[in-house]
Amino acid sequence: MDPLRRSPSPCSSRPSSPKTPPCEMLGYVGIEAVLDQLKIKAMKMGFEFNIMVVGQSGLGKSTMVNTLFKSKVWKRTLPGLGMSTPQTLQLKSVTHVIEEKGVKLKLTVTDTPGFGDQINNDKCWDPILGYINEQYERYLQEEILITRQRHIPDTRVHCCVYFVPPTGHCLRPLDIEFLQRLCRTVNVVPVIARADSLTLEEREAFRRRIQQNLRTHCIEVYPQKSLDEDINDRILNSKIRDRIPFAVVGADQEHLVNGKCVLGRKTKWGIVEVENMAHCEFALLRDLLIRSHLQDLKDITHNVHYENYRVCRLNESHVLPRGPGWVNLAPTPPGPPATPRPSKACRRAHDNSENDEDY
């Protein structure tokens, strides 16, 4: 199969369908049964989801992952129990298969301990970018083989959750540098970590300032405004964009509140309930990542970010694919390839958003 015709069009998940008027049906045919067929196939194959968590140590990344997937993906450690921050950034991945109501999810979580912990954090984002591009490269290599596997294992990072420390002021220089670089390569969802140290008013003010910082520095986080397909998407995603970054709290201990067993953090002045919308916005994050936008995250990774990477690599090797599947790619250059600046997703952001003061 010609690689060029695999996906409908790069940088957009809109199917190129011509506008034809719908046909009038004279009776029940049974086309809708295709949905069931898709469901059965999907359940047999299972789903894959790769998530990366980035942030300084102690912001509750591991706890958040445990809370999101309601299982002990990572073992939580208290300070002093032998785990010291590593000297350099290391990436750790762990894979679990979780099953719910017959649906199997192969979840891979990549942690980044040591990020932003040193005195000099310059270029601490390079290993992360390198890892993400490595996964794209792996997929690309599988894709250009003559005899391809039936189902290419997908290790590409579908979503990167970035933990912003709850200073209450605004984004720090490290946050801005990191987000600027990563939003071009992967879906980034920023969250306000450990939000139980901020009151509701402080959270709102902090959120507004962060949103303004993101606009000023031209950082497009997920869900990207330029990738909304139709008016329904835009309405739904606008509501989400208004609340990003979510103020989250993670907990994996259960407590009894009003007769119910809830996940929360127990302090001397009250219990912070993780699933209580009046306490924190963890439920919004979980719904976004798992219940409503999981497939969308994967689609955008495949159709937008991966395609951008592929175009870059092919341009670099100066050989466009000709004929059935034989591509001679130059060996991978060290480090991330130079992405076209600004990337296509961001270019639309330039056009749409108003021009604030220069950054």
Binding site: G80, T85, P165, P166, P173, T216, W269, G270, H279
Partner: protein, 368 residues
């Protein structure tokens, strides 16, 4: 009968009290730590004044190019007839940039400058109105979200622990559960011991104090580093009396509740009982240490570089008698004259070079 045995110097403490009330009291407190740890709120809570009213928090784009600055704020607080002139030294920009290497050097330089100023004043002729601008105490804020001291914390503390009294404090402590607080405190204490950082040691109470006081004192010492929460807002929790605290949807943290945080301990130890001791330790130990090392390095010019005309005279080290004070004045004059001579020499050289340059240029244009 009592009059014969009673001499009357038991009234001395009262005389001191009256004198100090008249003179007033000045204290310089430095606050350091990353931004966003609740430093300003805590200072406002400690002294119950809004010292940071006119503060403008820099925007994110401004922070990208920010370097560390030292800001001083002075305020006079009066309570019970005693005037306290409090100077707050702030270090905005600390730990904010992507690359924080050596970002503590301006702070160290500032502390040393205050010592230098005091040394100069002390060795001067007119010593009536010496202003003591030395930093008496540094409250260092540690993030509650880390796993103990971060590399930046260790580097900063190592650089200043011999120059200023350090009181480590865990900011925004309402983010932690009780077990987490204990574990974090223990980890910080272990790290301070490992890295051999000398923080301010609260002196032991007298042996003739009662058991209760001793127990309280021991408890307070156990709770270092203090886990604090600051707030200037009064929360009225319908029914209970109004308290200063932070209202969350799941409860209210009371700042002055010893079960909630160590704010009361900090306030008691810093303001109520150990203010004078901090000043004394700064003067007797830290300043003297600085002075000794400063003068020792001056007394041995060979140890540095004999070639340049350094501050002290050409005489050898053996001739420096103790104490230095009578000689210090003449040494200062010699130093100043040396400086002036050097500056004039430099200016002469520059002028000569300029004249030569203009001469050669003139010759060139002539040739053309």
């Amino acid at each position: 009968m009592q009059d014969k045995e009673y001499v009357g110097f038991a009234a001395l403490p009262n005389q001191l009290h009256r004198k100090s009330v008249k003179k007033g009291f000045d204290f310089t407190l430095m606050v350091a730590g990353e931004s966003g740890l609740g430093k300003s709120t805590l200072i406002n809570s400690l002294f119950l004044t809004n010292l940071y009213e006119d503060r403008q928090l820099p925007e994110a784009s401004a922070r990208l190019a920010q370097t560390l600055t030292i800001e001083r704020r002075g305020v006079e607080i009066e309570e019970g007839g005693i005037k306290v002139k409090l100077t707050l030294v702030d270090t905005p920009g600390f730990g904010d940039s992507v690359d924080c290497s050596d970002c503590w050097l301006p702070v160290v330089r500032f502390i040393e400058e205050q010592f230098e100023q005091y040394l100069r004043d002390e060795s001067g002729l007119n010593r009536k109105n010496i202003q003591d601008s030395r930093v008496h105490c540094c409250l260092y804020f540690i993030s509650p979200f880390g796993r103990g001291l971060r590399p930046l914390d260790v580097a900063f503390l190592r650089a200043v622990h011999e120059k200023v009294n350090i009181i480590p404090v865990i900011g925004k402590a309402d983010a932690l559960m009780p077990k987490e607080t204990q574990a974090l405190k223990q980890r910080i204490r272990d790290q301070l011991k490992e890295e051999e950082i000398n923080i301010y040691q609260f002196p032991d109470c007298d042996s003739d104090e009662d058991e209760d006081f001793k127990r309280q004192d021991a408890e307070m010492k156990e709770s270092i580093p203090f886990a604090v929460v600051g707030s200037c807002e009064v929360v009225r929790d319908g029914g209970t009396r109004p308290v200063r605290g932070r209202r969350y949807s799941w409860g209210t943290v009371e700042v002055e509740n010893p079960h909630h945080c160590d704010f009361l301990n900090l306030r008691r130890m810093l303001v109520q009982t150990h203010l004078q001791d901090l000043k004394e330790v700064t003067h007797d130990i830290l300043y003297e240490g600085y002075r000794a090392s400063c003068l020792q390095s001056l007394a041995r010019p060979g140890a540095r570089d004999r070639a340049s005309r350094s501050k002290l005279s050409r005489q050898s080290a053996t001739e420096i008698p103790l104490p230095m004070l009578p000689l210090a004045e003449t040494e200062k004059l010699i130093r100043e004259k040396d400086e002036e001579l050097r500056r004039m020499q430099e200016m002469l050289e520059k002028m000569q070079a300029q004249m030569q340059q203009s001469q050669t240029q003139g010759e060139q244009s002539d040739a053309l």
